[in-house]
């Protein structure tokens, strides 16, 4: 078991989205499961950070840090729900 979870991705997601994201809900494009981003299964010892749906393993979010940019791919998330207070 080499994975952690979306909690550990909080700083990176904050860089990408400009806000705390771990408590926000995402819907898996693969299986439709709805979970807080904190519960995603995260593989960090890879060339990028790969977050997968905890229910079905679909790749939800991939973040690759380049020297002067961050590329974020969120093809595995059907929707994100941002709580506005």
């Amino acid at each position: 078991m080499r994975h952690v979870d979306g909690n550990a991705m909080g700083g990176l997601l904050w860089e990408v989205f400009g806000a705390e994201m771990t408590h926000q809900l995402g819907c898996c494009a693969g299986c439709g499961a709805v979970n807080p981003l904190a519960t995603l299964t995260v593989y960090r010892d890879a060339p990028g950070e790969v977050a997968r749906c905890p229910a079905c393993g679909t790749v939800s979010i991939v973040v690759v840090r380049m020297p002067h940019a961050i590329r974020v791919t969120i093809e595995g998330v059907r929707w994100l729900q941002i709580h506005t207070g």
Binding site: A8, A19, T22, L37, T39, T84, G85
Partner: protein, 249 residues
Amino acid sequence: MAGAEIQRRLNWLVAVVVGVVEETPSVRSLTLSCPGWPGHRPGQHIDLRLTAPDGYQAQRSYSIATPSEGELVTITVERIFEGEVSPFLLDVVAPGDRLELRGPIGGYFVWDPGEGPPVFLAGGGSGVVPLMAMLRARISSGDGTPMHLLVSARSRDDIVYREELETLSHHDGVVVTLTLTRSRPEGWTGYDRRVDGAMLRDLVMSPDSGLVSYVCGPTGFTESVAGLLVALGHPPHRVLTERFGPTGG
């Protein structure tokens, strides 16, 4: 809080090490004084960034062990065998050193005092760190929320914050339970095994109490304990988890 969270920027800050506590032979707490620190919630973490003379950088996340207290942030670090960062934090860092950090981070695995539903905390090894921030906040705020902390450690000497936990177990409305999985001192009467369903049935309130559980530890511990709680009828959305893996160090 949510509105303020969205406004805040996550900038790298420079903190100074102002306190060091050797918790166990392999665990150390560092208290950092961090000008510009906006305060934090129990359960949140920081990202720490180290820079070598040739520009190489390493970044790790560490849970905060204490409730918000001005510019002070205490983290507790466990030595990871052949790790890159934790041996440095345990062996090299000394009071007066400057460290670069950002935070606080985390909006899910957090607990705020406020007379909410009863709380069950389960920590494996150094997974107790963010739970300790919750327990300390519960006590220092005078909040009356019933709170039960279960700590699983290999031996008595491996229990992080042991002395404090032994004192806290007499605090009103707070229960601390220890289980020692590998070796026990002479005359030990507590649990002596990995957390299992029977242990949780003994310790944990029934689901209709509205109990909220926080489980933190290595991935295997966290997934096992969270699974057992769900099997006992606790709704998954009230079993919050934080896993840390063997990676990084």
